[in-house]
Amino acid sequence: MLELRLVQGSLLKKVLESIKELVNDANFDCSSTGFSLQAMDSSHVALVALLLRSEGFEHYRCDRNTSMGMNLNNMAKMLKCAGNDDIITIKADDGSDTVTFMFESPTQDKISDFEMKLMDIDSEHLGIPEAEYHAIVKMPSSEFARICKDLSSIGDTVVISITKEGVKFSTKGDIGTANIVCRQNTSVDKPEEATVIEMNEPVSLTFALRYMNSFTKATPLSNTVTISLSNELPVVVEYKIAEMGYVRFYLAPKIEEDEEDTKPQV
């Protein structure tokens, strides 16, 4: 038996909106420690890792480790039927092929009951290698979303370069180039508006903006975003989820095509 009760149901709604563009179907894993998900996009270039810790739920009952396959678009449609202030409860019996979402309005005068069919998804467990990141940027998530959106109107890849001076986002396309530099600023009044850069080695990596824009769908989840980079490793874009977990996006970089491949020297 699985029964999870989340008072701040809007968090779950936002989570689904943030990952459904990247992944179509995924297995949600439930254990005594929490509710989690790991899935790659269809081209295996990006990965999303979600964790909602059990302590963050008002009520968390999970008798047995279980895995529920869901189509994320369908799940998002169900969660859309919950009000922003509703309490959301997720229920499933052991061995059941359906999951039930219950939405309670704050004053308990309206209770909705939605049952969704589960899928048998033959997905694989993913091993995320341990990594030490040479550069970590923490900045307002709305700023990051704005930067990705602005740059994607100019080009389709972004070069993220981190040096002592700050973090630079660059792109170029048919109509020209664009560069946006964010310097470190920790003297602002509100801590969530600061841009903080930890760097022990300069980093410069190239990524597809299409994926970056997809990640920024998670902006409503958190005021800040943390971007971790090391040369030749995937970037990690992390949004905290209140006090109960996180959603992390991993994206493989683009590398220079070796010009010697097809243009041999005479």
């Binding site: 269809s42 270039v45 990965l47 048998d120 597809a208 991993y250 493989a252 970089p253 010697e260």
Partner: protein, 297 residues
């Protein structure tokens, strides 16, 4: 490939040179050659008139190759990489570029010679790509060997000069004796040097292209050189192209190749190895018996 019986000198510290022939041509194989001898023989080796194969005439190269084959104090080996293999690797979904192919070939030669029981302590090799990275890659694979990776190694080190002769003569002979798989009227063998800039090669390519089937398999059709010959050729649509486009696969239009997560250390394993089978989402029969699909045994 030299004597099958391991000579006595091979159990003393040995030095190897590695070089390649036929990297740039659009025709024929790329050949990696190696030459090795004991450390104590190096001084004698340097008196044997080996030089960078590019500076020698063909007759001289052939003569030197025959000489070294008869020399009991020298070992040698080659890796002949077929043009079809080159093209297949360079065009496959997970592309393998020419540098990677080169690195693998060189490392394959070292491995082969080590497995024969030769005590290799030093290897000299012309650089392919970044010398520092290449050296690190080689040292990681063969920690007991000291590597010297340098530009113009074939001019600087006699063992590499010798290897360049081994590779060059092997390639020349392979090309000279090449048997064209394809049958057609007017199939000729006067293809010149095989380099894209050679007028004779260009003329041969023009005469031997086919509107639908392309080029004979002697040709490295992954070379950019080949594209211009097929402006008017029949277009072929591959089912997998759609999958690539749908999935937003490797996108080369801006000159950068998109890596996949598996290229950078992410691994996958069957989930069912870790989670009890539940038969979830399937009909009652399978659910009741907790049966699942198996994709491998």
């Amino acid at each position: 490939m030299g004597s099958k019986i391991l000579p006595k000198w091979a159990s003393k510290p040995c030095v190897m040179g590695i070089d390649e022939a036929g990297r740039g041509p659009v025709l024929g194989p790329m050949v990696y050659g190696c030459l090795y001898c004991s450390q104590s023989y190096l001084k004698t080796l340097s008196t044997l008139s080996f030089a960078d194969s590019k500076t020698l005439k063909e007759e001289k190269r052939e003569e030197l190759f025959e000489t070294l084959k008869l020399n009991d104090s020298i070992g040698w080996d080659v890796d002949v990489i077929d043009p079809r293999e080159l093209s297949a690797k360079m065009l496959k979904k997970n592309k393998i570029n020419l540098n990677e192919i080169s690195h693998s070939s060189a490392m394959g030669l070292i491995d082969r010679v080590l497995k024969m029981g030769v005590l290799l302590t030093e290897v000299y090799i012309d650089t392919v790509g970044d010398a520092g990275k290449y050296e690190m890659k080689l040292s990681n694979s063969f920690p007991s060997i000291k590597f010297v990776v340098a530009k113009k190694a074939d001019s600087l080190y006699p063992v590499v000069s010798g290897a360049s002769i081994v590779a060059k003569v092997t390639r020349d002979r392979a090309l000279r004796e090449w048997v064209l798989d394809e049958t057609a009227e007017n199939m000729q063998r006067n293809f010149g040097s095989g380099y894209p800039g050679d007028p004779q090669t260009k003329s041969w390519l023009e005469d031997h292209k086919h509107h639908i089937f392309g080029f004979p398999s002697l040709v490295r059709f992954s070379w950019g050189t080949c594209n211009s010959y097929f402006k008017d050729a029949a277009e072929v649509l591959w089912e997998s192209d759609n999958l690539d486009e749908d999935g937003g696969g490797s996108n080369n239009k801006n000159g950068k190749r998109q890596l996949k997560l598996s290229n950078v250390g992410f691994t996958t394993s069957k989930r069912s190895e870790e989670i009890e089978s539940s038969g979830k989402g399937r009909c009652r029969f399978f659910q009741a018996r907790k049966l699942e699909h198996l994709t491998y045994f």
